[in-house]
């Protein structure tokens, strides 16, 4: 499957514990090593001035250009993301591709009291978007991390791990991947 990179590309800072929390979740979900990439570059040309939001599609293109270059990269940011037809997205990924992105902007709504709740939500969405990058589509089991999360209620309802069906699909996909 290759390595997984987690890269903080936000405007502000993120706590070390938060990154670690996400990293552990991702490792556990995909059973491969995940590492933090400490690149200092920040996305350019992703801001939509009229919407005051960042285009997640352009963010993915930037990650592919500027990222570690091998394995899969998950960009993590604090700016608000959107796709043209929706008011916002929690994140986006290239289906069966190499880049994914998640944002904390909408995960801390409406008023976040406990940082740990935010970290937990972030970890779930990180697993979800990386799952797409690894070829998984949405899952109908509400407890699975791959279930659709259209709103915060969905995020809080679901778990941070893959269900047995998605696990199997992932294993089958890896068996089909050419070994180098």
């Amino acid at each position: 499957m290759g390595g997984l990179w987690l890269w903080w590309i936000g405007e502000g800072q993120i706590e070390r514990e938060a990154m670690e929390h996400v990293r552990l979740h991702v490792e556990r979900a995909f059973r491969v090593p995940a590492a933090v990439w400490a690149g200092q570059a920040r996305p350019q040309g992703t801001l939509d001035v009229r919407r005051k939001q960042h285009a997640s599609g352009r963010m993915l293109e930037w990650l592919l250009r500027e990222g570690p270059g091998e394995g899969r990269v998950l960009g993590m940011t604090d700016v608000d993301l959107f796709i043209p037809i929706l008011t916002f997205v929690f994140g986006e990924a290239q289906l069966n591709g190499r880049a994914a992105v998640v944002s904390t902007a909408r995960l801390s709504e409406p008023v976040l009291v406990d940082r740990r709740v935010l970290w937990e939500r972030l970890a779930k969405e990180a697993v979800h978007e990386l799952g797409h990058a690894l070829g998984l589509t949405h899952c109908s089991r509400p407890e699975c991390a791959m279930s659709r999360s259209a709103g915060l209620r969905d995020v809080d309802r679901k778990g941070g791990q893959l269900c047995a069906d998605c696990r199997t699909l992932l294993d089958q996909a890896q068996d089909r991947e050419p070994r180098t």
């Binding site: 599609g57 959107f82 796709i83 043209p84 037809i85 929706l86 008011t87 916002f88 997205v89 289906l95 797409h132 589509t137 949405h138 109908s140 659709r148 259209a150 709103g151 209620r153 969905d154």
Partner: protein
Amino acid sequence: MMSEGTRVLVVDDEEIVRESLGGWLTQDGLAVEVAHDGPAALEKLRQGKWAIALVDLKMPGMDGIQVLQEARKLQPEAAVVIMTAYATVDTAVAAIKQGAYDYLVKPFDPEELSLMIQKILSQQKLVHENEVLRKALKREYGFHDVISKSPAMHQVFELARVAAPSSSTVLILGESGTGKEVLARAIHKESARKDAPFVAVSCAALTETLLESELFGHERGAFTGANARRKGKFEAAHGGTLFLDEIGDISPKLQVDLLRVLEERRIQRVGGNESVEVDVRIIAATNKDLRKEASEGRFREDLFYRLNVIAIHLPPLRERKEDVPLLVERFLETLAVELQKPIEGLSSEALTALLAHGWPGNVRELRNTLERGAVVAKGHIIQLADLGLAPPSAASVGPGGKVEPPSLDEVEKRHVIEVLSFTGGNVTQAARILGIDRVTLYNRMRRYQLRD
């Protein structure tokens, strides 16, 4: 959301919308296709079945409303969601009036979009399940157009199914309005003769001479006014089924003629000498007790036995009240189509009244009552008052199922109530309809205690 294979059509002239929305829906396992304008969308609608069409309101050329109108015709079961920019919400609301499922304002709230899609799909699933169940029920409860849950009627269906493939004569016995002709048609449809004609003759409606000519036809000059040779119903039904209704009412002479035809399978036109072979299956029906008529000498015994090869007794509706809801549903479905009126059902009071009614006129009376109700009903639901049913006390079913007719006072009281309910309690209008003056009407109302 398990919706694999569910087809969704995204119609928008902006590529970025098609891509962005299409991609988002694909992640849910939906089979998404896109169209860049109205004509392309209609082409796709013509080619296959779609669960949902998300259609942009403002497109050059054919706009979203026009696509909606065509989609309603091409695929009424597909849910059409209109996508609009904020400024055109009024138009989107108008679209709902024209049959759109709902509208979404761009850009969409992801939760709203997700919930709407889920809601549409679960509603369509319910409709589909309902349809499957309904079909199963119809198979379970029906014999062609005759439907019933009652055990007595199931015996009728069984007998009819067994009798249908043969060419044996069938005698259907039952009160007026029990559906004797409907059952006869069902037997015809079930038989090998189904592609040949089904010809029905009401023997009570015509005089002896006319009925004779009607059944056997006549040669030119056979009687005054017979300007040309005319084929009779026997010849018209050749290869098929001839339904002789009210057979108990035919004259002694015709009884002899009919007996001969049944024995020889040949007819002779009135005024002719040539005998013509006819291959006709006879289904006869009567509301009389034909055995009794025969034993008392009013009906030829030999003809009775010729006809009574397979006798099917249709029970009156009052003996199978459990069928009332089933029949109501069936009739309302057909009435809604016939009357072009969106009738969805009846109020529980109306149904209770239908269940309590004695139905002396049987299924035909029930259908007529519902037709009246459907015509009069102001909304989608037929109310008790719409049915114009007599109060339950008015007609009581006596021994042997005979209905005791109401008194003149009772009839007058009922009519006054009906007219008053028609005018919404307006006495002046009611008096005008009744053709009496207001004082007289007030006196009647006092007498019948219709107002304190």
